[in-house]
């Protein structure tokens, strides 16, 4: 495994990093309790301004999904593939119990292995290598594969 010094998160504040047990970071409204991801300053539900950053659950259930079937335009896409090496990838929303549904890349792209309601687990790992460093991002994968 590469040293932490050689790893950078894809964005600051999306998940705890560096960490042996990284968690997604959301915000919880102090007034109405609504949770959003990523963390933000205002509350979209009650229009309140008082939110606190919280760690989100690591496991949840797949709420919906799709398979991205073509290479996205760059920019904004900065994944490592070329038109020749591109393989479809999964995207979905995972419902974290009592908190929020989070949109995420999925670690599987086989429609036969994805089912609404299945248990999913968070994975924080290398997405791409850029400028000699590993860019770390978050994904979800079927819990029985972790």
């Amino acid at each position: 495994m590469a040293s932490v010094a050689n790893q950078v998160p894809i964005a600051e504040g999306l998940f705890t990093w560096p960490s042996n047990d990284p968690r997604l970071l959301g915000s919880k409204c102090r007034d109405c309790g609504v949770v959003t991801f990523p963390a933000q300053s205002g509350c979209p539900a009650c229009c309140g301004e008082a939110t606190e950053t919280i760690e989100l659950e690591r496991r949840g259930k797949l709420w919906t999904w799709t398979i991205q079937g073509f290479l996205p335009n760059r920019p904004p896409y900065e994944g490592p593939e070329t038109p020749e090496t591109f393989k479809p990838f999964g995207v979905g929303y995972v419902e974290l119990p009592g908190q929020v549904r989070v949109e995420a890349r999925l670690k599987t792209e086989d429609p036969a292995k994805l089912r609404i309601g299945m248990d999913m687990a968070l994975v924080v790992e290398k997405y791409v290598e850029r400028d000699g460093k590993d860019v770390i991002a978050y994904f979800f994968q079927p819990a029985d594969e972790t």
Binding site: T64, F70, P75, P76
Partner: protein, 380 residues
Amino acid sequence: MDVAIIGIGIHPFGRTEGVSGLEQGVHAARGALKDAGLEWTDMEFAYGGSSAAGNADAMVSKLGLTGLQFINVSNGCATGGSALQSAYMAIQSGMFDIGMAVGFDKHPRGAFTVNPQAGGLGKWYGDIGMALTPQFFGMKIQRYMHEYGISEDALVRVAVKNYKNGAKNPNAWRRIPFSYEDVASSQMVCHPLRKYMFCSPAEGACAMLLCRADKAKQYASKPVFLKAVAVKTRQFGSFEVFSQSQALNRAPAPTAQAAAAAFEMAGTGPEDIDVAQLQDTESGAELMHMAENGFCEDGDQEKWLREGHTEIDGKLPVNTDGGCMANGEPVGASGLRQVYEICLQLRGEAEQRQVPNNPKTGYTHVYGAPGLSGVTIMTN
């Protein structure tokens, strides 16, 4: 003050090499003026927009520098609808008697390119490959099909119908009907949606002349009256495109809010509508919009399609001009294309695709990023 549409103009949709989006807008504007027997010098104001083809007010250098009030409108997929609503309010307020709403666009080939930061999202969201509208449409219909037991058959039928209607529309882009097999076996784009279930970015333009309803007969033998125009944005809990997260609670979509506001404004209900144009970015969108606009119950769509209720001779013809699927999606023009088609239908001038039995009330609906919807209701 009621408002009437007294002139309509269009530049054919699709791909027109060597003609800029702005020039297509000018073509549509001149068509609308000619339709009403009016001159550009008669216009007191204009609202116009495009998303990728420049500022609409640059049209004045070609149409003539009359000094009129011209306001550019930029409101994503609701740009055309917002131009129409602005023109409606300008007349309804009593400030002006007559003016124009115009929309045009010319997008590059291939999928739409999104700038996540312009939409208030982190750069990482595009970096990792989630800033794509087809993913949202795939995920929304995936969930909907799961909840309401709808099969892929319904998705195929929507596309087959729209291409069939487009084949009867001389201004449409795709005028060759696709068979059920063509659609059902086309490439998977964003599961469960296939290539021929999607519209593509394109080019085109539309223009409308509006005036005070009490003066409409001076200009048009068959004016169409705008009974309602409503634009709504998302509320907390609705499932929208480019949402990094979603609330656990569910709230009605902006479409449902815009529909309810429009029906209340017009004093009518879904059962009064004789012909409708519903946003069909892809097959799933048309399906869900049938219910979100109040025309059927969630889950009834498959039965409706099998029984042909949304065909031109059905009980509620939907997307009689072929919709976005057959016309392509020039973002600034699409909303006005829907209005153009309803005007033709209510004037009895839709020729091969004319809805039978003299339709009296028509409906248009757009939906787009980042979660907004525009609805109009018209009568003849």
